[in-house]
C-alpha cells in the first residue's frame, strides 16, 4: 500500500487535553488518563472501543504497558515508537496503516508529563537520561541541551542567510499574541520584540523567550477509518498524509545545520496529499525554539530556503497576519510538557472544526502539522490534515 493510497482513509475524531500548565500533585499517567478519557468522550466513543494505542514517554522504557494498565485496555495494535516530540505526529502513519489493514478500529494516541511540578522534575529527568543514554562525544563540552544544540543551528542559519535575532524574536512575539487569544495557554502576559531581545541570554543567540516553556500537560486524540468517522459526533479532521524523516541523533551529526529532515518529510507528505505548500491555510509547527518555526517554514516550502526570517517579519505569522502559525500559542507560549507533537495536532483539529473561539481562523480547510524531535531537529514528521471539502 502506497502513502498516496492512504490519503484521507483515516480521520481524527476526538481530541482532549488535561493538566496543561501546572498539574500539582498529579502524575504523568493521571493527566494522560484524563486527556485520553476526554478525547474518547469527545469522539462519542467509550474507552472499551479503543483497540489501538500509540504512546511514548521520556522516562519509562516500556511506557505503552504503563498506559494499557492505567487505562484498563487491551489493544490489538500497540505502537510505542519514540523519536522525540515528533512521535505523536509520526504515530499517525502507523495508525493509518493499522486502520486501513483492519487490524484495529479505534486508535488512541496519547501523551502526558508533569515535568514542571513533579518532585522528579525536568532537571532530575534530564540527568537520569544522560546516564541511561549517554552522548560521549558531546557531553564533556557541557552543551546546555536542548537549547545549545538549537542555538548552534540558529547561529549557522544567521551566518548563512542573514537571519537576525529580531527575526527570531518575531516568532516568539507572534506565538505570544496567539496565546493571548487562547484561554488554555500558559504564558499570556504581553511580550514585545525589545523584551525578547533584552531578556536573559540562555545560549546565544537565544534569550529565554526564544526557548519553549517548561509546563505540565497531557494530550490525546482518537483516530478511526474515514467511513466510520463521518457518522461520529464531531466534524472529522481527515489525515491526508503523514511522513517522517530521521537523519541523526546529535547536533554534531546534523550534516547541514540549516536544513532539517522536514525537507524530506514535507516533500513526501505534500506529494501523497496531492497538495502544494500554497494550498495550506495555516501551519502548526513544533516550536521548541524560535528557530524551529523559521526553518520549518523554509523546509516545508512555505517560503524559500533562507527567507524564513524575512517571511515572519511585521507580524506575518501573528493574529491578523498573512499566514497563521501556531494559533494556540505553540510550545513557546501555550504548553510544552517536554514533547509537544500531540498538542500541535490537536490545535490543527480544533481549527479545522472551527471551535477555536477568539483565535479561530475563518475558512480553515487544510492545515500542515510539523513535529520536531530530538535535541537537534533530529526527527521531523509532517502531516496534512483537512476537512471533508478537501478530500
Amino acid at each position: 500500500m502506497s502513502l498516496e493510497e492512504l490519503r484521507g482513509k483515516a480521520a481524527i475524531v476526538g481530541v482532549g487535553t488535561a493538566g496543561c500548565g501546572e498539574a500539582h500533585g498529579m502524575t504523568d499517567l493521571e493527566i494522560l488518563s484524563q486527556a485520553a478519557r476526554a478525547a474518547v468522550e469527545d469522539a462519542g466513543l467509550e474507552m472499551r472501543d479503543v483497540d489501538g494505542l500509540c504512546t511514548a514517554n521520556m522516562g519509562a522504557a516500556l511506557w505503552p504497558l504503563n498506559v494499557v494498565e492505567q487505562l484498563g485496555i487491551r489493544p490489538r495494535f500497540v505502537e510505542g515508537t519514540n523519536i522525540g516530540g515528533s512521535a505523536f505526529v509520526a504515530h499517525q502513519l502507523q495508525a493509518m496503516l493499522a486502520l486501513a489493514a483492519g487490524i484495529c478500529d479505534v486508535v488512541l494516541v496519547c501523551y502526558g508529563s508533569t515535568q514542571r511540578t513533579s518532585p522528579f522534575g525536568r532537571k532530575e529527568r534530564t540527568e537520569a537520561r544522560n546516564v541511561l543514554d549517554p552522548s560521549p562525544y558531546e557531553s564533556p563540552y557541557r552543551p546546555f541541551n536542548p537549547p545549545s544544540s538549537y542555538a548552534l543551528i540558529a547561529a549557522r542559519h544567521m551566518y548563512e542567510y542573514g537571519t537576525t535575532r529580531r527575526h527570531l524574536a518575531e516568532v516568539a512575539v507572534a506565538a505570544r499574541q496567539w496565546a493571548q487569544l487562547n484561554p488554555e495557554a500558559f504564558a499570556r502576559e504581553p511580550l514585545d520584540i525589545e523584551t525578547v531581545l533584552n531578556a536573559r541570554m540562555i545560549s546565544d543567540p537565544f534569550t529565554k523567550h526564544d526557548c519553549c516553556l517548561v509546563t505540565d500537560g497531557a494530550a490525546a486524540y482518537v483516530m478511526t477509518r474515514a467511513d466510520r468517522a463521518k457518522d461520529l459526533r464531531r466534524k472529522p479532521a481527515y489525515v491526508l498524509s503523514n511522513a517522517t524523516g530521521v537523519w541523526h541523533r546529535t547536533v554534531s551529526g546534523m550534516q547541514d545545520l540549516t536544513v532539517s529532515p522536514t525537507r524530506e518529510s514535507a516533500e513526501r507528505a505534500f506529494a501523497a496529499a496531492r497538495l502544494t505548500p500554497a494550498d495550506v491555510d495555516m501551519a502548526q509547527i513544533y516550536d521548541a525554539f524560535s528557530i524551529n518555526t523559521i526553518m520549518a517554514l523554509e523546509d516545508m516550502g512555505i517560503c524559500p530556503k533562507g527567507e524564513g526570517g524575512p517571511f515572519v517579519e511585521d507580524g506575518a505569522i501573528a493574529p491578523g497576519g498573512r499566514f497563521p502559525v501556531n494559533t494556540n500559542g505553540g510550545g513557546l507560549s501555550c504548553v510544552h510538557p517536554n514533547m509537544y507533537g500531540a498538542f500541535a495536532t490537536i490545535e490543527a483539529v480544533r481549527q479545522l472544526r472551527g471551535e477555536c473561539g477568539e483565535r479561530q481562523v475563518q475558512g480553515t480547510n487544510t492545515v500542515v502539522v510539523n513535529g520536531n524531535g530530538g535535541n537537534s531537529m533530529a526527527s521531523q514528521s509532517t502531516s496534512l490534515l483537512a476537512t471533508a471539502d478537501v478530500l
Binding site: 560521549p136 562525544y137 557541557r142 548552534l152 545560549s203 554534531s252 545545520l257
Partner: protein, 128 residues
C-alpha cells in the same frame, strides 16, 4: 594503535586520548574519514576503519556561548569544528572570551585534562 587494539572504537578512542593522541578513523573501503569512531563505516558500511592522526586544524562551523553564573564558572563556548579531514566534532574554543569565537575562524586542536578526562579543545590559529 597496536597497544590498544582491544575493545570497541569508543574504548580505543578514549584510550588514545588518555595517552595524549587525538585520533580519528579513515575508511579504507571508501576513502573517507569518520568521526565519531565506529566499528562500521557510516558511508559505505565497510569495516576497514583505521586510526589516523588528523592534522589537528579545522574551522568553526557554528558556535554558541552557554551562559552560566560567574560563581558556577561563568560563560563558556560550545562550538562545532569541521576538521580539515572532512569530519565534524563538538568542542570548545579556548584562549579568547566565548563571545569572540566566530564561525569561519581557523582553529587548532590540543588535548587537555578536565575533571580527570582527556579532552580535545581548540585554540584560534592566530593565537598559536
Amino acid at each position: 594503535m597496536q597497544e590498544n587494539d582491544r575493545g570497541g572504537a569508543e574504548f580505543q578512542y578514549h584510550n588514545a586520548l588518555r595517552e595524549g593522541r587525538f585520533v580519528i578513523q579513515h575508511c579504507d573501503g571508501c576513502g573517507l574519514h569518520v568521526f565519531f569512531p565506529r566499528v562500521v563505516c557510516p558511508h559505505c558500511a565497510g569495516t576497514s576503519l583505521r586510526w589516523v592522526e588528523p592534522s589537528g586544524t579545522g574551522v568553526v562551523y557554528s558556535t554558541t556561548t552557554v551562559r552560566q553564573r560567574a560563581e558556577k564558572g561563568g560563560d563558556y563556548d560550545v562550538s562545532l569544528i569541521d576538521l580539515d579531514e572532512g569530519v565534524r566534532m563538538m568542542s570548545r574554543v579556548e584562549g579568547l572570551p566565548p563571545g569572540e569565537v566566530r564561525i569561519g575562524m581557523r582553529v587548532r586542536a590540543r588535548i587537555i585534562e578536565e575533571e580527570g578526562t582527556a579532552l580535545v579543545v581548540f585554540v584560534a590559529e592566530e593565537q598559536q
